[in-house]
């Protein structure tokens, strides 16, 4: 039986570059021009095999908080990977991407795997960001680079496979007896009783 490892992945990038569409394509293999799938979805999950582990991606979408530049830092806390998306037909969105790289360097987790996705590559005829430039930028910061089309299901699966491969193997948890935990409806049964 393979061990399941939960990995938080967050999506960053300008409004309208196709973040939600990429998630929707990856998780549901579905594309819709007018989706608003972030409504009600705290995060979505999808599990992929990787070596002798199963990677369960907990994919966090921005919930639109990026629209007015008000994304909360808690959004990328504890992320194993960040996918920074730009729209190949919008040069501005590529500039925003560089700001996100800086933001993650300053405030993101230390060992975060960064992937850069140039989305909407089905719209090559109105392209504003040359692939070469983006690729070189990604190389300069040691990030994964891939051009995707959420619309035509191009390279979306591959994007996450690449991330999966870059996730460092599980470290032995340190001797911290006070591990952090999630609060759930059914608290872990305790051996202690209150007086």
């Amino acid at each position: 039986k393979m061990a399941i490892r939960e990995l938080k992945v967050c999506l960053l990038g300008d409004t309208g570059v196709g973040k939600s569409s990429i998630v929707c394509r990856f998780v549901q293999d579905h594309f819709d021009h007018n989706i608003s799938p972030t409504i009600g979805a705290s995060f979505l999950t999808k599990t992929m095999p990787c070596g002798n582990e199963l990677h369960k991606f907990l994919i966090w979408d921005t919930a639109g908080q990026e629209r007015f530049h008000s994304l909360a830092p808690m959004y990328y806390r504890g992320s194993a990977a960040a996918v920074i998306v730009y729209d190949i037909t919008k040069l501005d969105s590529f500039h925003t991407l560089k700001k996100w790289v800086k933001e993650l360097k300053e405030h993101g987790p230390e060992d975060i795997v960064v992937a850069i996705a140039g989305n909407k590559n089905d719209l090559g005829d109105i392209r504003e960001v040359p692939m070469k430039e983006a690729k070189e930028f990604a190389e300069s910061i040691a990030a994964i680079f891939i051009e995707t089309s959420a619309r035509n299901a191009v390279n979306v699966e591959e994007l996450f496979q690449k991330i999966s491969k870059q996730i460092p193997p599980l470290e032995n948890p340190e001797g911290d007896s006070n591990e952090s935990f999630k609060l759930t409806r059914q608290p872990a049964p305790s051996t202690r009783r209150c007086c």
Partner: protein
Amino acid sequence: MAAEDLPSEFDVVILGTGLAESVVAAAFSRVGQRVLHVDRRSYYAGDWASFTFNGLLSWIQEQHVSTSLLEEGEELICLSNSDSGSIRNVQVFCFTRWITDCFVTQASQTQGEEPEADRSQSEPAKKKINYAQLVKEGRRFNIDLVSKLMYSRGSLVDLLIKSNVSRYAEFKNITRILTYRHGNVEQVPCSRADVFASRQLSVVEKRKLMRFLTSCMEETEEQRAYKGRPYLEFLSDQQLGDNLQHFLLHSIAMVTEDTPTEEGLASTRHFLHCLGRYGNTPFLFPVYGLGEIPQCFCRMCAVFGGIYCLRHSVSCLLVDKESNRCKAVIDSRGQRISCSHFVVEECYVPANQKKVATPSRFVSRAVLITDSSVLHSDSEQQVSLVTVPPIAAGCPAVRMVELCPSTMTCMPGTYLVHLTCQSVGSAYEDLSPVVTRMFRTPESHDRENCPSVLWCLYFNMADGSGVEVEGHDLPSNVYVFSGPDGGLSHERAVRQAESIFNKVLPDEDFCPPAPNPEDIIYDGDTAASTGGEDEKQEKEGAGGEEKNEEGEAGEEEKKEEGRAGEEEQKEGAGEEIHEKEGAGDLAE
């Protein structure tokens, strides 16, 4: 990228992203209200925020600039955009040794000092952390302005779980409760196992303590006889001895010597009730600090369609004179935004609209970065609550929380220590005597074995429990929240949020559970939940509640249908609730 205009119509506009405002934002959005949530600052959570070390330095600098923008038009209420005095008496000290310039800000209150004390030879050669390192590793700090803990069975934990907002954050147990007594830091036994394992207590004391803790869970005739009389008197009549009396009064009940018995007992029971749910103490702390909690509720609000805008404020309210209701607000960009309800943090309310102009009470706060724990133990990763009784008559009792690096609030090799008390004087006057006694600073004497203070900050913050939220000269659909109070728990903020939500939407459920990620299925252009997981959880709930829930659910369904046509965007949320009802029927 050009700034986009905000939509011009909302149900609720909320100004300020503190805990209570964020909870109410999530609650409104969750039941389908269109929420606009703004904060004039560039960060979330207002006075509840947490900062990196460098972020805190900027915050300190901001406190010295206070601009007041009070204006009044005949039909306008101009909201204050200054910090309106919620923070005072900011003082910063840096004691790291090998730095030349340890000044943090150029402000007059700021002082920098170098310790002249020599390191004793005997001390193991430990790498000292200098100021440059604090700055370089500044991002590893998450320093809260407010210092509180979460009672494991308190209303905040209950709400996080009920609403599923809990899945946005992780928590750690407070691992031990300590107290300062006769110049020493001692561990307080607070569970059955602790009592038996304690080496400080004699067998007789152990037996007495166990008997007391068991007996105080139920109200007795004897206890009632002490109603109105000090808890201390009750305790001393139990013949418990000094040790136990100190623990029970200062560390378990956490009350003062003149607190009435019934309050002391209630507090003791709450403590005992919260033991053992998650860990050996009654308390939890969020990883990355308390500032995460408001952000988690804001995310929930956004996930259900709420719109977020930082660095954005509301400058005026447009009030319909006849009905005395706020019909719209004018935002800081001059845009008119209509709303049915307006929620605002107290500090934005202009002084001339308030019943009482200034906060009546303040909390004294200190934040220390130290190099070791106040009590060494096998594990370096302890999270401790330390109760410090008044060190002299007339001094306040001080509450101290010591956080270790694994809470993700400070860099490795350091501890982050928060001190809090009710103000008597300035924060420095109230707290520095405790700091000099318990830590090693240039002012302290013979404290070679105490942790050294590398850097510290003192400030006073308005006490939210001393702030009027009712009775302001404001329209009837404007609701005011007070800022954080000085208490240990979050009860007040959660209660305020729930009460205002119920006032506005008396028939709606407050923060029902959000669907689980696995249950969201995209179906055409709507997202729907199968509700499978919810159903399970509902069943696990207490049987007695089921009927009640169903009744409410029925109401909710009707409302959802009524709204369905109004707003396409909300269809996802509506669908989900609908599905949940179906699941509920099946469960029956």
